[in-house]
Subunit: 441 residues, 2 copies
């Protein structure tokens, strides 16, 4: 039945196959429409676990699946691998990098966000963020290479810098990243290296706000802080970052020597605002009304991290997966309702709670009146994340990996990929190992 939409019938174009776009497409499965889903990558990514790829606990394929496979059984959608370069609102066409155009009757823009350096884009190369699989494997490479270099570095100051990891941003991503790096550097790795011992390495979390996890209640922030400190993370609160370079970070007036800085401090919307000539907020998100339309454009929905949308309390909805998914489903329902000539009740965001994990076996969970911490929160976190992974295979594999890593402290995906790098020839001194190494002339 779903294959039988009328040729020439209503066309829905969805841009972006993240949580929002995918939810919209799936909610339209039984609608008499022809959907085109456009993404510049061939896979849907479960971003909340991306930091686990960056810290070598999971493989990319554990948390990503081909969009085509996820939608294989949905007959009314066509998946297109292409990049949007603009939108022609008059002709109702999406312009693609291939030179093709996709005509729409309704357009759902769900292109997500990229990290934002607040105008200091030159920091990007020194402090990468983690939004894509490529980001995550690049960070993994950076962290693992720093450990390798520290292992063969005999100069104390240089080794200390190599073993200092700085995470900028104390939201869920920064907290999770700092916790995971601390475990990687302090525990998982100690068995395999000869020169590095667990107490050699230092993980510093820099947060501009006076507490970590600002979106959580204060007691849970405090619990998260305690968990981080238990893992050996040095947390610097109310500390602005003033400068980032290849070998140091200046924060709160202090210089930290490090070769591995990771950015988790801010995101900005994709260029959707410029595509449709709409107004954007400071973070590049398009302002939309309560039905996710930009001003004066009922044919376009903008959802997820691309949109700036006020919740019932007047505050903007947070940039998390449940928001994107609920908005995606609502946009789909709005289209289906309009096709039937029905009215749809106003959107109401249902908040299920906030979760953040801090290393192995600790987490915080905020359900409004109920707050959880420690192991119960972590078990909940694991269950929720594994449950929401798309596709049985991934769910099973991630569950297995998480359990395995939990039991063994192993980091099975500790691969440095990319062409072998030539070690820095300016690095001082050789590696002492009994008499094995002889000093360079």
């Amino acid at each position: 039945m779903s294959e039988c939409y009328p040729p020439g019938g209503p066309r829905v174009v969805v841009v972006g196959a993240g949580f929002g776009g995918l939810a919209a497409v799936q909610a339209l499965a039984k609608a008499p429409v022809a959907i085109t889903l456009i993404d510049q990558r061939n896979h849907h990514l479960f971003q909340p676990l991306l930091y686990q790829v960056a810290t070598a606990a999971l493989s990319p394929a554990d948390i990503a699946g081909p969009i085509r496979s996820i939608l294989a059984r949905q007959g009314n959608v066509r998946v297109v691998l292409d990049t949007v370069i603009g939108i022609d609102r008059d002709r109702r066409e999406v312009l693609l990098a291939s030179g093709k155009r996709a005509g729409y009757d309704w357009l759902i823009i769900a292109t997500g966000a990229r990290h934002s350096y607040f105008g200091r884009d030159e920091w990007a190369c020194h402090a990468p963020g983690i939004k894509s699989i490529e980001d995550a494997t690049a960070v993994r490479r950076k962290v693992l290479l720093a450990l390798e270099r520290a292992e063969s570095e005999t100069d104390k100051v240089r080794r200390e810098a190599l073993l200092t990891f700085v995470v900028i941003g104390g939201g869920p991503t920064g907290v999770e990243m700092a916790g995971a790096i601390a475990e990687l550097a302090h525990r998982s790795v100690s068995r395999d290296f000869r020169s590095i011992t667990p107490h050699c390495s230092k993980v510093i979390l820099i947060n501009l706000a006076p507490r970590v996890l600002e979106s959580f209640p204060e007691d849970l922030s405090a619990a998260a802080l305690a968990d981080l400190e238990r893992l050996g993370v040095e947390v610097r609160l109310s500390t602005p970052v003033e400068h980032i370079a290849a070998d140091h970070v200046v924060a709160g007036g202090q210089t930290i020597h490090t070769h591995t800085a990771i950015w988790a401090a801010g995101v900005e919307g994709s260029p959707a605002a410029s595509w449709i000539g709409a107004e954007a907020d400071r973070a590049g998100r398009v302002k939309v009304d309560h039905a996710f339309h930009p001003v004066g454009e009922k044919r376009i929905f903008i959802i997820g991290d691309t949109a700036s949308c006020a919740g019932a309390d007047g505050r903007p909805l947070p940039g998390i997966a449940p928001v994107a998914k609920q908005q995606g489903r609502y946009a789909a329902q709005a289209i289906a309702a309009e096709l039937k000539g029905q009215a749809l009740p106003a959107f109401r965001y249902r908040h299920y709670g906030n979760l953040a994990t801090i290393g192995r076996s600790h987490a915080v969970a905020d359900f409004g009146r109920l707050g959880l911490r420690g192991l119960p929160a972590w078990l909940l976190w694991s269950t929720v994340h594994v449950y929401f992974l798309v596709g049985f295979r991934n769910r099973f594999a991630v569950g297995l990996n998480l359990a395995w890593n939990y039991l063994t402290f192993a980091r099975h995906a500790r691969l440095i990929t990319g062409e072998p790098e030539q070690p820095d020839p300016t690095a001082a001194n050789p590696i002492p190992h009994g008499e094995t190494y002889v000093q360079a002339a």
Copy 2:
């Protein structure tokens, strides 16, 4: 005890952590030596399953593990991530790209092989080979992108070229690769794409020799050929490749339009010969005696694919893992024996048999007098490969993936990674999908 080697005592440097190098290091676990293992990558790679990464059935981390982890419990070895740039035989030092030097009393060179284009290096960019994880993910990207582009290509001739996959070389690698691509293109993919149907795609295996798997008996070659043809692979025997370009391959005087050619036709040794100024054969391998020493150099062992070594029958030993492992162990035993002032019996290669798999559930196995084919050979192949994987975790994960893929035809690792590519703007015509696509002006 193994930590107690005398400082200043015998130093063994092993270059390369493939099958040969790792076997040598592990066989020296109880010897009173200080080992330095140098590799330009941080992981040991189970190369025989690399084609499964290239065809999206396995993830890189399934078949590779950090060298440090594999050797974590061996106290007399130090793992160094560095690149060898030369060897000073007079001072007995290995020169490293970092500017450091590693002094040795014995040196084991096990640097493996790269693919060789027989002097036509300009073919490398059009027809990549598969020797490293980067190679495999690059091939995976190439194959999957070709399918994506074919899906949105309306020009019949161009689509046909996009769906033509050419594998050059009919040895085990080429046969396994062709079988796996045929399954990916014909079967696994058919469910997910809308325009591509299983019979659209074409896999061509080009072999210079008059039969595939020349190292196997003729009846098993014939069985492999039949298996390939059953999978829809077109096999062209006794066919030389005359030219390779971005969009075509000329073989046996005929032009094949293709965007995806894969090289499995030949390998050459690493530059070890030039490091020590030794004689090399045409394939770049260093000629060694029956104890794996190059001429006049008893301190150096060269093993595995880097060496050209005659077997008991006078024919060169094949470039397979069992040869490298046995040679590595023998070199280690030779060092240990010399330290004890003992003599070692001459090396004798024990050939256990040849195995090659052709797609899902078919293989050929040659044990001299006994030959297996079909499902029994495939079950044996699976068992052997999973068994020999380094590390329990990988063994378990690969076993699970192979079983899962067998049951479902799924290709869970079908990720196109790397920065999104801009689709070819010269590509003709848009994608028809009801009325969804509008032709570019």
